[in-house]
Structures are given as C-alpha cells and as structure tokens.
C-alpha cells in the first residue's frame, strides 16, 4: 500500500559529486544538482509510490525543504535518507550542539512525502527565503 508519509533517519554527508561541484564553485550547476538531492532506499521509495527523480518534501522539527529523490545506488538502507552537505541539507538538520560546539548533522529524525509539483529552490532563492538576503 502506498503511504503518504514515511518516517526516516536523516544523514548528511559528502558525495564525490558534491565535492566536484564545490571545487567548480558553489554557484555552479554541478553543485546545485549534487546538493539538492536526497538518496533513498529503493524499498522506501516504493512505499511512497515514487520513482527516482521525483521531488519530495523532507521535514524535520527544524525545517522543511524540497529535494529530488534518487535511489541510493549501492546496497540497502531502509529507513535512512542521505542528503549531501549543502544549504539544502542544513536548512533542516538538528542544530543542537549538546554543549560541545558540534551540531547533530547526522541522525536527525525526519519525514518524507512526495511533492512532485513543488519546485526545488535554487541557492539564491533558498538563501533569500531563509535569510532574506
């Protein structure tokens, strides 16, 4: 049965595409495409009734952002979603430093829902939206 929403654990981290994009320049198309993606387990995508390259809305207690869902290319990771480091991921990560300076970039509980009609914001739009500059 297709679900409306899926509860998952959000991990953020590095991918080689994100690395290449950031060295090209953070305003490059490569960086935008690499960082506005969320990698999901194939079975989880089936549960939501979506295919690769569908836009989804990822929500945590700290915010929500629209990203492009892509099937995780290797192995299975049920219940885990992975977003490359970047302003899109950081719009929704847990900022609690537990008093040691380090926010909790990995392991935030999150919800994913299909949002095929919602657009992914470009970096300028996202920054304008979040910070008004």
């Amino acid at each position: 049965m297709v679900q409306q929403k899926l509860r998952v654990t959000l991990l953020t981290g590095r991918t080689i595409e994100q690395g290449v994009g950031k060295e090209q320049g953070k305003s490059s198309q490569e960086y935008f495409e690499a960082c506005s993606t969320v990698y999901m387990d194939e079975e989880d995508m089936k549960k939501l009734g979506i295919k690769s390259n569908t836009n989804v809305l990822v929500t945590t207690p700290h915010g929500s952002v629209v990203l492009k869902a892509v099937k995780h290319p290797r192995g299975s990771m049920p219940g885990i979603i992975y977003i490359p480091y970047g302003p899109w991921a950081n719009a929704i990560v847990n900022d609690s430093t537990t008093s040691i300076g380090m926010p909790s970039f990995k392991g935030t509980p999150a919800e994913v829902e299909p949002a095929p009609d919602k657009p992914i914001l470009s970096m300028e739009e996202l920054l304008k939206n979040l910070y008004g500059k």
């Binding site: 590095r14 320049g25 290797r74 900022d95 008093s99 300076g101 926010p103």
Partner: protein
C-alpha cells in the same frame, strides 16, 4: 608551456604532493595524477564563479567598490564590534592563519576554524585520552588491516586508498589492487551474464549456490588472509564500502555500542545479546579476531563518528579500543581531516594561543571552552555582533539558525569564489587561490607540513589571504589609534 612537478593539491587533508600541472599562458591546462576533485579545482579555479572585484552591500545589493574601500569598511566593522567572530581558516595557509590570530587578539574577538563542525569532537577526546597515531608513510609501508569507520575516502579523500592504505605498494605490505580488480571483473561478468539471460541470448546457467557469507553478509574468509585487508564500517553502503573486503552496516547513532562491543570481545568477554547496533555479535567476534591477529592495524574515522549521537564520546571509545588492541598487537588511529589545512589551523591556533579552535580573546587573554566559546554556540545564542569568514562557507555548512544570526549582523567574507556565505555578505573581498595563485604552508592530516606552490599569477588586483588580512589588521590598528587620540583630546 611549462610542466610543474610535485605540486601539493590544496583540497583535502590527504595533501597529495605528486600532482603535475601543465601551465600555458599563465593558466593551468592539464592536470596529471589528480583525482576528480583535484582536476575540478585546478581546471575550474579560473571559471565564471570567481568574485571579480570587491563588493559592499548597498541598499540590499552587492555593489562593486575599490579594494581600499572594502578593506576600510571591513576594518571599521571589526574595530567597532564588541564580540566579533573570525571563522573559517581551513582552506588557507598557515601564514594567513597566524595573522588571523593576531587580528582576533587585537579586536578581542573569537577565532574559530572549521574543526568545530568536523573533527572538533575528536580534538576534545584526544585532550581527554591522548591518541596513539603515526604518519601516513608508516601506514603505507606496514599496515595490513585498514579500517575506515564512518568515513568515505573514495568521495572525500579520493586518493587516500591509493597513496596511503589498501592500494599502495608499501615496503613491507603489498597493494591489494589486483584483488580488487578481480572482484570488479567478477561482478561485471555476472552482470553481463544476467543481461544476456534477460535478452534471451543465452539460457540461464545452472544456479550457483550462493556462498554462506554472501547470503547473510557475514565476514568473508578473506578477512583472515595474509596481506592487506580493508574493512569499512558505515550506516550506508558508500563507494569505499564497495571496495572493502568486509562492510559492516551499523544502524545510525549506534557506533558507540558497536565499538564497546568489540572492546568487550577483544577482552574475551561474552556478550549476552545477539545483535549490537544491527550487527550480529558472531560477526563482530570475527572482526575482533581479525583485529587482534593483524600485524599493524589502523582505524581511520570521519564524520560518521563525530556528527552522530555521542559525538566526542564515540572518538573516546575508539581511542580506548586502540589502547586495548595495543596490548595484543600494533594498532593506530587517525582522523580523516577534511579541508586541506584544517590540521594547520589547529596547529597554528595552538602554538599562538594554547588552544586548537574556539579561542575567545574577549577578556584580553585566550580562553577555550567548547560549547561556550565555539562559534556555533555563540551564533545559536545570538551573541556575536559581526562575523568575518575566510576560506570556508558556513552559509552552506552551518545549520539554518546559526546562519540566520550570522546574516543579521555585519558579515565580511574573504573568498575566491561566490559561495553561499559571500551571497549573504555585506563586505566581500575576493582573494587569490592559495596553492595555485599564492604560496604558503599546509599540514597534512598526519601533521606533516608541506609547501603549497604558486603556479600561476592571480588575476590583476587580487591579493592573497595573507596580504588582505595584514591590510585589515593595519587598518584596524589605525582606526583604534585614531579613536584613542580622539578620546584623549576630549
């Protein structure tokens, strides 16, 4: 056309120093020996994403100004701030970092580097329990068990395996590259047969019974082989995991438990559970066996430990595990440092102020209390009243609430590229790329300092980070002296 050899690559903490660049008309046109990141930087540095002139925000928009005006404006903001933050420092030279500390002391601010969102927790643990480590050269020549825990060097340090660990030809340990190629060929062959079967070209071959260890992802017999062995521990199957002899998939936020379980197993204690962190205990037993029976083992760890639940406690238990292992064999541990000179930032800050990151000069002397004087906490509490960001991009790498406060207060950005922070900046000063257009020193992840080369001239009018900071510092001193004279006259 000139070929420059032995160039140090200014991207990740591996600091590969065997890059060969071909220079034509003051431009890099060819890169040899580099990884995908290296090529992207050396061929893309001159691209359209460079900031061409200094900018100042006027009526909500960034407008071009002269360098003198931008430097004066930046100095004015810093000299008048009560509690400014100077953040970044990890993608620039040690020489620039040194001036940064001087500037922080002059303005009574907080100076912090990217370790705060990267290996800050590792530093905290090292301060608690010490660290048994070595240089990458020793690992290259001697290590026969290599474990990557919570890191993906294939993506973040692409040549790490090839230069320092599993796939390098050491004096006493040989490369495992051939074994890996065989594995890849076997997998490709299997795929070809499957595709041929699907297309009906050949009949489905008699089903080969799957080997027991493949069926349940148990440790393969190769874990006990002679020579180099590679184990990857991660929450998801990364590219590095694909290359490993054995991949252990741990549930997110459960690394601490798994590590403690291995510690118990190494001490021959019995565990009364079947699984720890999603991994069957019997598999962990075999991993513990492999650890105890190796000649020289190493654990490299990354953000998978420092950014998940437990944070610095994860590193503490990892280091304790190494301490336990050293009673049985030789084992070392090393953090996979991200930015090419974040190690240098820690070294320079420590030698100048006594502390590696999050150093607060607001009382006139250096103080260090992670959680209080670290820039993330200051931003989240909304205490700072100005920020200077150099050689980092917190606009893209900090959580939303921290960036919100940073964007609300005056923001000075020194960077070659138009990144998220520069887009939010109030004063933006473009700089030359260190390691391409200006020289300096950087520290590799194992604390070996290496020279960065200047291979081409920077675009006209662009200064190095070091020169920009020196000019801001001079300007700040001039403004403060003027204020002092005015106060005396009054």
């Amino acid at each position: 056309m000139v070929v420059v050899k032995s160039v140090t690559c200014p991207i990740c903490g591996s600091l590969c120093d065997d890059i060969e660049l071909t220079i034509e008309n003051n431009e890099v046109v060819k890169v040899k020996n580099g990884c995908a990141l290296c090529e992207s930087k050396f061929l893309g540095y001159k691209g359209e994403h460079r900031i061409k002139t200094p900018l100042i925000r006027k009526d909500g928009k960034l407008m071009p100004v002269s360098l003198d005006e931008a430097i004066h404006k930046a100095a004015e903001i810093l000299a008048n701030a009560n509690y400014p933050i100077l953040y970044g420092w990890s993608s620039t030279s040690c020489e620039a970092q040194r001036i940064g500390v001087e500037l922080a002391e002059e303005i009574g601010g907080v100076i912090d580097n990217t370790a705060v969102v990267c290996h800050g927790p590792s530093i905290l643990s090292v301060q608690e329990v010490g660290i048994p480590t070595c240089t990458l050269g020793q690992i290259r020549h001697r290590a026969d068990l290599i474990i990557y825990w919570g890191c993906d060097p294939w993506s973040a340090h692409p040549r790490h395996l090839e230069r320092y660990t599993a796939f390098t030809e050491g004096r006493f340990e040989k490369s495992d590259w051939k074994g890996y190629i065989q594995k890849v060929k076997a997998a490709a062959g299997k795929k070809k047969i499957e595709s041929a079967v699907r297309r009906g070209v050949v009949k489905r071959p008699k089903a080969q019974p799957m080997l027991q260890h493949e069926l349940v992802n148990a440790p393969p017999p190769t874990l006990m082989k002679e020579g180099r062995k590679l184990i990857v521990v991660d929450a998801r199957k990364s590219m590095t995991a694909e290359m490993a002899d054995y991949f252990i998939q741990v549930e997110p936020n459960k690394d601490y438990e798994v590590m403690q379980a291995i510690r118990a197993l190494i001490r021959d204690q019995e565990l009364d559970v079947d699984k720890v962190g999603g991994v069957p205990v019997e598999y962990l037993e075999e991993v513990a066996d492999a650890m105890v029976n190796c000649n020289f083992g190493v654990i490299f760890f990354g953000m998978g430990l420092t950014q998940t639940a437990g944070k610095f406690r994860n590193i503490e238990v990892a280091i304790s595990l190494i301490r336990d292992l050293n009673k049985r064999t030789k084992f070392v541990i090393m953090p996979m440092r991200g930015h090419f000179n974040v190690t240098g930032a820690n070294v320079v800050f420590t030698w100048q102020s006594g502390y590696p990151y999050g150093v607060d000069f607001s009382l006139g002397y250096p103080r260090y209390n992670p959680g209080e004087t670290t820039c993330m906490d200051i931003l989240l509490r909304g205490e700072s009243d100005a920020t200077l960001v150099i050689a980092a991009d917190p606009g893209a790498t900090f959580p939303r609430r921290a960036v919100e406060h940073m964007a609300k207060t005056p923001l000075i950005v020194i960077d070659p590229h138009m990144n998220a922070t520069a887009m939010l900046g109030d004063v933006v000063i473009p700089s030359a790329f260190v390691g391409i257009e200006s020289e300096g020193t950087a520290y590799r992840m194992d604390h070996v300092p290496l020279p960065l080369k200047k291979v081409v001239d920077p675009p006209k009018g662009l200064l190095s980070d070091e020169e920009i900071l020196r000019r801001i510092l001079e300007e700040v001193r001039a403004i403060k002296a003027k204020k002092m004279r005015e106060a005396e006259a009054a």
